[in-house]
């Protein structure tokens, strides 16, 4: 599809004011790289703010500049698609702490060298605050909806809870209102893999060649398992061997699933910064929306006027249905209009990015109100 039809723009904004952070610091001259698809209408009321997940970025529709692969939700966003950009103006920004153009640990510090581990620890709310500043700069007071899956869903919840007057609706897919011990545990495995790589150099590896690619690859491999279902893995790989007829009695990738994970790990290092991975996973682990609101999740939505829709998947064991149900109950208790549905899909947590027609119907129906 031609860029003209999509009305696709990629740009970077330098925030005009310092960005205050939950950790107490503030960041000067924060850059936010973003993509917009569609056209903002005259009264600036048709914007949808789309939040990306942990390892994605602002390239929702446009080809990824490093991999050349289609945008991560190009299936669902575009003219006539589920999120119809002939009607809506979709905005997606690379999160604060990211590595695709927004300010993060690889960005230059005031001293000219990369921030590295000097970068402040950020939160999901900090990421959202940066994107609210982007909306301010664009002159958009209120969006039609905020949408996000996984970590994007956390941002959508944070946005609706902390800036309740600025969205009419929130669509939260395969997400959670807080990271569980198991979620934190998996992230910690990934972080330790990175930090155990001698090439990590305390985070000061920029300009030194390859950086902690082995550690980052292992982090990605561990995380990737959590995005898939056991049945999905069994279906795709089973115990099949990789390009060989018998086990080698060695430690090569005998099994297809090993080969697949190694490939996932390696290809990830081509497009992601290891320090960004540390900071973003930390932000996710710190996320607990109830804790931010006096320990009661319903209080988070006390002043919200938005409509909510929550979608979970029956094979998602990373953020299982119970997490979405907890959020839905809190919203019900606070009197917000809320729908919740658990959809059946075989792909585990990643289902939200894949072909699930029932999800398309729910999203389109919810947005077209």
């Amino acid at each position: 599809m031609a860029a003209a039809e999509l009305n696709l723009v990629n740009d970077t904004l330098v925030l005009p004011a310092p960005l205050p952070l939950d950790g107490g610091q503030s960041l000067e001259r924060v850059e936010i790289a973003y993509e917009t698809i569609g056209t903002l209408n005259a009264d600036r009321s048709n914007a949808i703010l789309l939040f990306h997940a942990l390892t994605m970025d602002q390239h929702v529709v446009s080809a990824h500049p490093k991999t050349g692969k289609p945008g991560w939700w190009s299936k669902s966003v575009g003219p006539g698609k589920v999120i119809d950009t002939s009607r809506f103006y979709v905005i997606c920004a690379n999160v604060l702490g990211g590595c695709m153009g927004s300010t993060g640990p690889a960005s230059p510090h005031a001293d000219g060298k990369p921030w590295g581990m000097r970068f402040p620890v950020i939160t999901i709310r900090d990421m959202v605050r940066a994107q609210v500043a982007l909306l301010d700069a664009m002159g958009i007071d209120k969006v039609h909806a905020v949408i996000g899956g996984s970590m994007g869903g956390m941002q959508a919840l944070s946005f609706a809870a902390n800036w309740p007057e600025r969205t009419g609706a929130a669509l939260v897919i395969a997400s959670t209102a807080r990271h569980s011990a198991q979620n934190i545990a998996f992230h910690e495995v990934g972080r330790q893999a990175i930090m155990a790589d001698p090439k990590w150099e305390g985070g000061d590896y920029y300009g030194a060649g390859k950086g902690p690619e082995d550690g980052l690859a292992v982090a990605r491999m561990a995380a990737h398992i959590t995005y898939l279902s056991e049945a999905g893995l069994t279906d795709k790989f089973g115990r099949r061997l990789q390009d060989r007829s018998a086990k080698t009695f060695g430690f090569d990738a005998d099994f297809q699933v090993e080969s697949y994970l190694r490939h996932q790990g390696l290809s990830f290092t081509d497009r992601f910064d290891a320090n960004s991975y540390l900071y973003i996973t930390r932000a996710m682990d710190y996320f607990d929306l109830a804790e931010e609101h006096g320990g009661r999740l319903a209080s988070a939505f006390a002043t919200s006027k938005a409509r909510f829709c929550l979608i979970s998947f029956d094979t998602d064991w990373l953020y299982p249905t119970a997490e979405s149900r907890t959020i839905a109950h809190a919203l019900n208790a606070s009197g917000a209009p809320v729908s919740f549905v658990e959809l059946s899909a075989p792909f585990g947590h990643d289902s939200f990015l894949l072909d699930v027609p029932a999800q398309d119907r729910v999203i389109a129906g919810f947005l077209n109100q």
């Binding site: 109950h329 729908s339 549905v341 919810f366």
Partner: protein, 204 residues
Amino acid sequence: MSLFTPPVTFGLRPDLAIIATKVKVGSRVLDVGCGDGSLMEALKEQMGCDARGMELDPLGVAACVAKGLSVMQGDADTDLADYPDAAFDYAILSQTLQTTKRPDKVLDELLRVGRKAFVSFPNFAHWKVRASLLWNGRMPVTRLLPIAWYETPNIHHVTVRDFRELVADRGYRIEGQWFLSGDRQTSPAAANWRAEHAVFLLSR
């Protein structure tokens, strides 16, 4: 013979049309087992109600969301517990009571979360059901109960008399009752023989 034809049906199934026309304008309603949301839609659009729904089937929930309705996927047997007391003016359970594991407990929950409750169900004591059982000696398969015993979701068949007794046992009040035969309302006289379908409005 029909004593009364509801003036408005909103294109709804007859038991739902009765409920829709009896609900007070602008009330807060929970439709438990709301299916594709057609009753909620009528209540919202025609009666100005704040209608919420609960539905077990994800396809039903998807259909509701596509209509702009607020629906939670959930099970009447377990998930009403998540709603606070008297959160709704009405709780509605249409053609679902007989599919629940514990109809008595579901009834209690309906009248806990709703100040009033509409309950509709197929009457297992309708003469056709009785005749079918009497003459064939087999579990009846009728228009309103079209599925064989081994695969029917209707695991707790109930009659008008059974239901009235349950309501009395629990100390609830019957505020209204309507009966259907085919698509038409019938007399409450001998309803336990003559009604294929019953609609009750209850209060605590």
